[in-house]
Assembly symmetry: D2
């Protein structure tokens, strides 16, 4: 699937025994890379103060490109945070890379943020009216500024963070590093994920449990919606003042964003996707010889479909993993063949077969149409498409970059029309009502499918504040 | 699988209608990237002579790194060749990147080469005795030099190539570009692959058929062992003077090297690997709940094992595709967890299950041992390992970089011992006799397994020529 | 001379006819490069608003390295500012490069700054008490923040700049770009230089007149101490509310910083240095055959000494202009010869001669000692050293990076002792009383020589505000 | 002066005590950088054979760019050669950078070369007829090939070099490194310079004596025209079989190429240029107030003119040394001002004065015309131009890149015409007859001025061999 992009991944770590956490941040961010490939960075400090100030490095690029050995060789600290980013607010420029590292009334503050606020204009307007200046165009700087202002009249940084969090509307997972504390906060609805792990005397916060595994930490628990966690020399403290009891986890984590080996809010992602495939098999059964998935995103649901239907699971495509990001423009003649560059058909696996082709979503419909054409050219008798999510019909305001309506085939066409347009023999979308079952009966935000937002989005949008930036 | 490396991939293209072939070379090399990731390059010319000389670019790195848009934007030609390289002879330095581009008696000659000769010392000695100088340490320069010398007394470049080929002993696939001809040669035993495709009035030569597909060309046929193909304004000509009738295709193309969607000497690689898995299931049946493969190399044979045994195929690991090549050194504590960085277990898929774990080879045994440990920690009840190739016991002299004996666990231990060392519940290696069946009953070179070399290697080695280089 | 470093150079330009000013900024910064080689940058905007936002680029490195053709090719605007930097406050990191580009209540603000404030802690403390956050460690961000805060209650950006300037203590030349205005401000004492030029309907502000020349602009006049200049569609406006009548121009501009072809506050730099040399000749006459200068900084004063004394001026050294900034460490044996790498003696010019060697200052004394040794080895009979500035004895708080006392040979040794230590036959330092004459009888700040600061520095230092950063 | 370019500089060093020579090569090449700024490189080996093979590094760029600390940190050896290049034959591509490093019958051969042969086509034809292949388009590879071929039938590498040298026609200085010998050869006419130095037990060969000084070596003597020097464990050996007694040193070394602090064939360059200026003063006296030179090339002759005429020497221009090589294109309006970017006038030094302006040559005449205009605009009353060389009228075949006739103002215009075209009040060119006096009465090649070539160039050109490359 292309077109749906996740905002970010965050990571925080504090080794209370004083060990260097830089390699762990590298591992953690590498494990969260699927959540954002545009930019990344880390900030570390030494809490005993002897080794001086916060060090940081961030830039556009993948973790393996930005955090090169020679760059981070001399970075060192027992407390640190990291970030991988795909921009949903703010331009794709190096200045917007995170973590933000700032000096404020109490020294240095570093902040990494996943999510999107819906009241940013209001929050920014308040600051700008008081003479604030902004270096970036990110929500994160707005949040940091409010923390700094609240800090003036607060006893602790936690208190300032809590006061700030009360003002924030939207979905967010924050990881904040003050000189001697690591703080994690999750929005009251639990829209964005954040979890806690431990390795010996080292505490780890991460967007997903796979990042805990990658640094050898045991998963302890998810941060609760509305919970703030503070890790310091005094150990770990929890504050749940922001909790409301109403939860709305982003359904897309279970459908697509989260890594297959992660567990999120008690649900194993692999299991959820298998269940999604099974549900599709129950809703849209078909007689077929092979169930296959569009690599990589459609594979797990295809496996589930196979398990439920009894139709054998198999591979139909080879995916070239060496496609670089800088790409030469093809001539007209070569444009068609460039589709084959990334995915090619395994002829003998599909010839003469009736195929169920599973993917997690349809955006423009051009890719799936190409794949169906390739399958049929290779001798497939029928191609039945099954999609493990409902059609997108509504914008997301909480950090998921759903394409605009005019780009979405589902905005303007019925499933029947789409089926014809892509050349499939049948087409079935996951039904919205079945999503809770897929995601382990968690309370979900499914607004992008059903338009039922878990907070009053319209009220914020109607404020029409022009913050002048 | 780690440790077994292929020499190279070659690509050649000539658009008789005069179209620019540079984008196609980019696509072709991207599709052959799995055959060599150390260096790559291309050379192109315009055969109508109006646009002047040969242009070329080559360097250490992946295709996406070396052939950047700004680099190749101004390259243009209707005739060109390309190369991806993993060094088996010659140091890993930029000077050894290919294609070789040379000026000689008839203008410019460019040459790309996959394979390894066993009589290089003799061939080089002859040249050096006559006062030759060498810029590189590759077989390819030796071959080019002989072509140039033969060219002096030959009517055509084909004649010189043919005279040269008669002297070569070993495995090779050559793609040669003279100012107005594209020539491909394959060694008489067919050790190294080379095939021919066509798109409109454009001819394509490539190590594998997947590269034809990637440029929209139809597969026409494999170049026969000992055949030389010449493509010019006069169309395509074939010369089979070098053919002997004795063939010996490298078995490792079918086990590991070739891409899953390629067809080679009439055999579909996907089918061969499925058959390999089936053969394993017949030879080493076991009661189990799940068949899985080590990503990516073990997956197809696992699928075959599943089909034959009836035990369901499924996934047990998640592979992180963002691991970069520059890697920071882990501390002792983190070393263990770094295994998890690349592959992690999908817990719910393996818990409580008896698992058949398939891979294509065992080199040192450390990786498979780690994976077995991870599976058992996640709750697997049993892990039965099946390897879709026999143990390596003999060196390869034809371009496959088999590790030396002291690094190979199979050199010093029986299968039973290895089974215990890696912590498996049972272990089965593909039997050498079954390889022909796997590879569609082609005549094979299986010398790395059985020591039966298809030419008199010992005679060459005994010559002990010190070519002084 | 090594060891004395200037803070920065600033440049601003506004083409009221709408022409693109980017090439002019490139030329201007290249002409100001001698004032700072650590980092540089530019910001431009289009005032008709049709082409959107401010574009900027800045990084560590020389102008020719940072502002490469491909980088600035797509930058465009009719209003812009630029900066070259050598850090006196703030670390040598890319984050501290200028111009600062910020969004604030009225849109975008860009600011470039030369100089150093003595009340930064107080200014920062005020902001930080109100919850400000800082991305950099520069004075410039503190100034920008005050401008933004004052802007909230001001009618125009000029008013906000003026209110801010009233709070600043120290030396500064500011160039500020708001969406439709270019503003320049000079500190009331005139410690830092700033001048105005014009080319057709284009106005230019620059630290030195040589930058005006480089863009084909005519020098109009120096900005007066305490003057604020605003250039907008309405033309040019001047505000002198900050003027006090007390001036104190930095003497080091005339001795060393400013470029030889600049004119500053009515004094031609070349003339000043010639006068300096003449003054030395009057104060310290000597019988000699040749007057020469240490390249490049000592050459003009040497010429002046020659003119006054009648002793012929000539060259004694060849300077290699290809010495790069990255330098391999020499072995002990080669260390001595590495002195020769940069400067070598022209033997035949010095052999058998009594030489007057002029330089603009002595810091550690090691370089001059080496040069004297080289001259004597080449056959010089006598070497009389003349220094065109008095000995440094006091720190500078206004932006000149004078080495600390323990590095300064003059802090701990008399002129007589230094003369012996460096192996000279005589040594004469410019006397402090003659500096005004050298600099055209301008009122000067000579505090680094005589300790008489033009403002109450001690009062500020005694405040001991720890701004927590 | 722009437009006249030197071919190259060569450097060789052998520390018989086994010390590492890499830093010395770096210093030596930095000191020879003025002879070629296009590419550079070095090759080193360890003669005791224990540390293995030849290491080398070369690329397009300046010494400070190509030989970065991280690049050469791990290079090590007691024998090495280096090269700086400006191309006169062969394209400006990285492949043509030197030293050439080759393997041949006796192991590794490295070669660095300054100069140009007139019989290259013949030499190459002979090789190519025998089946040679060429990687580069340089004379140097042709020379190396002949050495390798002669080596087959020679007892020693010196013998092969000598046999090769006998075939070469043209100007050359060669530095050759075999596994255990350092060899230097100079062409029989002595067209190209080469000298010998010593530091402890280390021998050094270099194009100019300034490179000896830079590594702390004492100048011993120039290599004689036609002499071959061999440095090995046996010490230093000289062979003068090629000497003919007829010498013809390139006059341009004395006028322009060689560094001011070098001594060449017994003549100090500084003295020669002073004499050149004096000669001009005698030939073309004028009443004036100031003698000045175009920086940097005209300065020494200006000093000589001043000494002879008694008119004071002084500066009229400031030269900006920060002009980078990548330069943005100016608009029409800014083109004029871009002249000021590199050189600007020191107004007060020229106002109201009659000026003698000295330079070493006039190529197109545009630069000197601009400078005269600038001087007059600044108030100069008269500008009398004196050129320290005769007009170019004939091509150089020995490695000096004289512009073609259509670019040379002197080809088509008399001195009187040129004087008017450039706006000078008078113009005097050095007379050809006085050049010997300037260069210490050495026998000179002045063919570019008088067309009298020291060898039968026409005969070679008439051969019209098309070597097919």
């Amino acid at each position: 699937m292309a077109g749906i992009k996740e905002a970010c991944g965050v990571f925080g770590i504090y080794d209370l025994d004083g060990g260097n956490v830089v390699p762990s941040i590298y591992y953690g961010l590498t494990s969260l890379q699927h959540r954002g490939q545009e930019s990344c960075g880390l900030a570390v400090s030494r809490t005993d103060g002897e080794r001086g100030n916060v060090q940081f490095h961030k830039d556009l690029g993948l973790v393996s490109e930005v955090l090169r050995e020679d760059t981070i060789r001399n970075m060192e600290g027992d407390l640190g945070i990291g970030h991988v980013r795909y921009s949903t607010t703010g331009a794709s420029v190096a200045e917007n890379a995170q973590p933000l590292v700032l000096s404020y009334i109490k020294g240095t503050l570093a902040l990494a943020h996943n999510g999107n606020l819906i009241n940013t204009p209001e929050l920014k307007w308040e600051l700008i009216q008081n003479g604030a200046i902004f270096h970036t165009t990110t929500d994160s700087e707005v949040i940091a500024f409010h923390v700094a202002r609240e800090r003036v009249h607060s006893k602790t940084v936690e208190e300032a963070v809590l006061k700030t969090a009360r003002k924030l509307k939207g979905g967010y997972a924050l990881v904040i590093m003050s000189p001697r504390k690591l703080i994690g906060v999750r929005d009251p609805l639990g829209l964005k994920p954040l979890c806690l792990g431990k390795r010996d005397n080292t505490y780890v916060l991460a967007s997903e449990s796979c990042a805990l595994t990658s640094v050898g930490a045991e998963f302890i628990r998810d941060i609760e919606p509305g919970e703030m966690i503070t890790i310091s020399r005094n150990g770990i403290e929890s504050n749940k003042e922001l909790s409301t009891g109403k939860h709305a986890h982003c359904v897309f984590e279970y459908i697509y964003f989260a890594r297959l080996d992660s567990m999120m809010d008690g649900v194993k992602i692999y299991d959820a996707r298998i269940r999604g495939g099974k549900s599709l098999a129950k809703s849209y059964p078909v007689e077929a010889d092979l169930v296959t998935g569009v690599p990589e995103s459609g594979i797990p649901a295809a496996k589930g479909y196979s398990e439920e239907s009894g139709i054998p699971f198999g591979f139909a495509f080879y995916k070239n993993s060496y496609i670089g990001r800088t790409f030469i423009k093809p001539t007209q003649k070569e444009r068609e063949s460039s589709v084959h560059l990334k995915l090619s058909v395994l002829d003998s696996a599909v010839k003469g077969k009736r195929i169920v082709l599973v993917d997690d979503s349809i955006v423009r419909g051009t890719t799936i149409a190409n794949l169906i054409r390739m399958l049929k050219k290779a001798g497939a008798l029928e191609v039945h498409v099954r999609i493990s999510s409902p059609p997108f019909l509504h914008p997301c305001y909480f950090g998921t970059d759903v394409p605009s309506n005019d780009q979405l085939i589902a905005s303007n066409h019925s499933a029947q029309e789409i089926c014809e347009m892509i050349g499939a023999d049948s087409l079935g979308y996951m039904q919205s009502d079945y999503l809770e079952g897929m995601a382990g009966h968690l309370p979900l935000c499914k607004a992008c499918f059903d338009g039922k937002y878990p907070m009053d989005v319209e009220a914020e949008l109607n404020k029409k504040i022009d913050c002048g930036c």
